[in-house]
Symmetry: C2
Subunit: 342 residues, 2 copies
């Protein structure tokens, strides 16, 4: 029996989670999305599909394209714009990842060596630019100015969020609100834009588009909060992500913000020292930080916050009953995102 | 009497060159362009206007925005789209410069320390992304899908050209055609798109837009060829550019392609050694390379090629007689670009 690497389950198994179930339900559309991605990744410059393919083939979960397609299919859409939109959203996301990895100096992404490690920083920056341009070309093909507006606003917001994150890195005085501003921009915005533009492509009303935007935004916030918790918890292999990255980079995430509110002066002093002087971090510092988080129940507190955004995402789905199967899976996706272990 | 740093002339002097004359003739539009640039550079994240302003205030010549505005004014355009377009083009150009400087590790740009030296590579990459997104937001504001198409195609072509340049760096077997493909994409495309989109915004016919595109493209090729020649000739201070950069980086430009066709085996061996192993370049290597270029008349040959593209740019202006003053200045700009000494 063949094992599929991504899910570690047998082929005959039933899909385990709402993400897989959505992928199967929307298989025809998602195949078209993949075709479009491959088609538009092409270039006469061989390094471009090589590098882009390295990341895209590395098997992301295609969450954002799925959201765009699902949002459109909540209105039983029978056009093709949502597939173009979905590929466009994946290109924007991939471009962001390429630039992120250069900046974070991450050595792994999706369980493989990061593109910039293999191809060099220069190529990663430039191919990121190329994918970003391709995304806009695809949008122009769709030919809808309102969709172009949503996605160009999203792109600007994402890069603002990334710059904001850069300026908050290592600054232990930042608040929960600062943190929220960062993740709302760098992560939740593209989730929100994917859902909103998907609904718009399918002819959703202003209210429906706004509701799905709210779903995407709150799901994105919950998603990033859980991601930030897992960076202090996941074993290396599971996500193919280096656990402890955020700690080593001095990234101000929710667990850190919450810990610094609870810890004693002495603990705070240890944490700030290890966290702020990333170059002098010693073996065991990260583990000690994790122990402190356990001690003050930081993970539970952070998870509780993620759940409250999850609830807002669920509320946003109220009244969408044209395609109840998708509505139910999108609702299930919220719990899945919150309860995942990697 | 006040001296203006950029031109080193007194304020009462008459404008010396077609670029200045165009700026004065189109002053009202260019002031509006500058306002739009400042307005759209704004962000709640202070680092963004700081970093973008560092480069934009560093006083580029605004060649591309001028071309966009001039192309529109050849049709006596009285709308505002050409100014938005011109700011958008300057944002794309600035984003490219920011990413270029990270990649080239240039320490100077426009006579000042490069942004990445002051703000770090991460910020330079991200603010580049932000400016690029802002450019698309501005295009969406214009609301013309054909203009969006021209500029999104241009963006994709530019990044392809940059990747191509990366893969040809240090490869002494590349041909004149390979070099042309690089500069056509990385430089000439944005000149071409600026002119074409400017004409389109002003209601030019398909033929007129194509002719102005051809003007921009050929001017851009000539411009880059001369830039590449000057990198082996200009004294440091004039352009605020590090002379010899291309040599140190192993960049395959026209003078190198031509030299390798003319030099003796022994000279080629020296050149390839110094050029390919950039880390072992010795003092005097660059000067020796320049001497070889003088010996074989490489600068004259390269200039001759630039002139032939300049002629094509001039030919493209034939028949534009609605605003003869602009036509004449655009023609003069070709000679100015070719004959400049820095």
């Amino acid at each position: 029996m063949v094992q599929t690497a991504a899910t570690n389950k047998t082929e005959t198994d039933k899909p385990e989670n709402p993400l897989e179930k959505l992928s199967i339900l929307l298989e025809t559309d998602m195949k078209r999305v993949n075709q479009l991605i491959l088609k538009h990744m092409k270039s006469d410059i061989p390094m471009i599909p090589q590098l882009a393919g390295h990341l895209i083939a590395a098997g992301g979960k295609r969450v954002r394209p799925l959201l765009a397609v699902a949002a459109a299919q909540m209105f039983d859409y029978d056009g093709e714009d949502h597939c173009k939109l979905a590929s466009c959203v994946e290109f924007i996301h991939t471009a962001t990842l390429l630039h992120d990895d250069v900046i974070d100096e991450s050595e792994q992404r999706r369980g493989k060596a990061s593109a910039h490690v293999i191809f060099g920083n220069e190529a990663a920056v430039l191919v990121g630019d190329f994918l970003f341009s391709r995304a806009f070309q695809l949008m122009v093909e769709i030919g809808s100015l309102p969709i172009l507006k949503i996605l160009s606003n999203a792109s600007a917001t994402i890069s603002e969020g990334e710059v904001l994150q850069l300026t908050t890195t290592g600054n232990t005085r930042i608040t929960r609100e600062d943190y929220l501003n960062v993740i709302r921009a760098k992560t939740a915005e593209l989730f929100a834009a994917s859902c909103e533009a998907g609904a718009l492509a399918a002819g959703g009303t202003e209210e429906e588009c706004a509701a799905l935007r709210s779903y995407g935004e709150n799901l994105g916030i919950a998603f990033q909060m859980v991601d930030d918790i897992l960076d202090y918890r996941t074993p290396d292999a599971a996500l193919g992500k280096n656990t402890g990255d955020d700690f080593r980079e001095g990234k101000m995430t929710l667990p850190v913000v919450l810990l610094l509110k609870s810890a004693s002066e002495e603990e705070k002093e240890f944490f700030e020292k290890a966290f702020l002087r990333t170059e002098t971090q010693k073996t065991g510092d990260f583990e000690k930080a994790c122990t402190l988080m356990e001690k003050y129940g930081i993970f539970e507190k952070a998870l509780h916050e993620a759940e409250s955004y999850g609830q807002q995402a669920k509320d946003a789905l109220t009244g969408f009953d044209k395609n109840p199967e998708i509505t139910s899976l999108l609702s299930g996706l919220i719990d899945f995102v919150i309860n995942r272990r990697h």
